[in-house]
Symmetry: C2
Subunit: 307 residues, 2 copies
């Protein structure tokens, strides 16, 4: 095999109760990444979208992840990576993760799956570090493993694939502004009160229990963030209104996706998802805020080979 094309999907992280550890792979929105083997060693990137991202392999997350990968294998050929981004950078649904994870996934296919999934997460994290200033695997893990994942440890990489209730749906609203992950991480307080830690960890534990038991009432009570959301939400226009409208429209919960500005709502019923989306969009139209929006099931498989 000399070429491959993959679809590398978006993802939401944190889910209010699992800061830096929870991630959900989406079905809609994603990057298309085509990789060709090339005779000359090394990596070359070509972008065929309108996002104006550098093709310099030291400044593009795909190049950074791919280089981290190739340091670990001795080959006498190289790769050309053609990226068509479907996720706007800085949107909070894992744009950089989609590019870095999709790239290493595709290259690994051309290397006859020389590396395992944890290796791919590790290489992708180099891209995440470049773009955000810190190592985290909460976006790349669900894209590579599929479904809903918990990153137990990044130092001694340990990722748990959690169950994804079939009826669970995610509604995404992205107000059309950009928030840099590094800026959004800066507003997070360095220390938290022990009582808040206890409350937040209990919510995470309860959310994980709700995935196994499919107890959506419990899920609704658990997907709560008293630590990061109060500060980050100030960066997002109409956040409180969108949250209020979503929950009044039947959402199980609503919060900031990743570092924002995307906002997620959860629902366990397709009809309810549509009502939530309609009501939130009507409001944003009324207050004249530009946005993108969509509904997605949880994507159980992750990155998909297109051809």
């Amino acid at each position: 095999m000399d070429r491959i094309k993959v679809f590398s999907p978006g993802s939401i992280t944190n889910l209010s109760c699992g800061y830096d550890v929870l991630g959900v792979c989406l079905e809609n929105r994603g990057d298309e990444i085509e990789v060709h083997k090339s005779i000359s060693k090394g990596i070359e990137i070509e972008s065929i979208d309108n996002y104006n991202i550098s093709n310099n392999i030291d400044e593009n997350v795909a190049g950074i992840a791919a280089q981290a990968m190739l340091k670990n294998i001795d080959i006498d050929f190289g790769f050309k990576i053609i990226i068509n981004k479907g996720i706007k950078p800085g949107s909070g649904i894992g744009s950089s993760a989609a590019s870095s994870a999709g790239t290493v996934y595709a290259i690994n296919q051309l290397l006859n799956s020389h590396f395992d999934n944890l290796d791919l997460v590790r290489f992708s994290m180099e891209g995440e570090n470049f773009v955000s200033g810190s190592y985290h695997a909460d976006n790349v893990a669900p894209i590579i493993l599929g479904g809903i994942t918990l990153v137990r440890s990044i130092s001694d990489l340990d990722i748990i694939k959690l169950p994804s209730p079939k009826s669970l749906e995610v509604i995404i609203i992205r107000p059309n502004i950009e928030i840099k992950t590094s800026d959004s991480r800066r507003v997070v307080k360095k220390k938290v009160k022990i009582e808040k830690m206890v409350q937040q960890s209990a919510n995470l534990g309860a959310f994980i229990s709700s995935l196994y038991s499919e107890d959506f009432d419990l899920m609704s009570r658990s997907v709560v963030d008293e630590i990061v959301e109060p500060d980050r939400s100030m960066l997002i226009p109409e956040f409180e209104s969108i949250k209020k409208i979503s929950t009044e429209s039947g959402a199980l919960s609503c919060g900031i996706s990743g570092s924002g500005p995307s906002i997620f709502a959860l629902s366990n019923n397709s009809e309810t998802s549509k009502i939530i989306l309609n009501n939130v969009c009507s409001h944003l139209d009324k207050v004249k805020i530009d946005y993108d929006s969509f509904i997605s099931k949880v994507n159980p498989k992750g990155i998909k080979i297109l051809d």
Copy 2:
């Protein structure tokens, strides 16, 4: 029914990764509590053990919990509570919780189950507050509900009964010293770094996942405490040695039970449990430290009616 006698078991809490929220009901060690209806209103306590605990209903957790209960029901009779403690106070395996929860459970039986389990937890928490200076339900919840519990919230009381893998066993070592819960809570830092919070909550989430999936390797990696244990362990003689010997003897993990001084180890094999217990006891005998020790399965039922 005019009288009842119950066995109210011990419990371990925190389990390293779930400070103030996780609790496990034990089978061995517990208080025997006999309650008689009496003609005169109000509550009377008689202790028939050697622990020298006050019989004053305002200074005994059983009396405090029972009074909290009786404020919520209009009856023209009272109760005599006879307590035979089997759990040494200040041992870290839920001595106060066993007395308060056992008492309200027994009285509720004589009231034809007028109150539900959450009510009983709420009343028992008054006893916990009296003895430790703060409301917490992590010991009383598993005694009343049985098994392993997660307290998601105490303000809006929300308790989740988690699965208990059948092969799971707890080894308890209690060095013969007393640590007051209130003292042990004082050494806990008021704030934690956000990175530590992320790590600790990921471990709690992973532990809960391991209970559902019965993945004992994951359980072993998750039952870790980098926040409270480093400070509290200094109050417990030989803690580090006991932990080292336990894990070298095959324990899945080892940590402080509740606020100590009891130490728990987890095992998923009866033979291993015995080896752990033997090796730790040999060490304590050698260094001449007095202790109590036992092995217990997880008690799925909680408080038991004796007659």
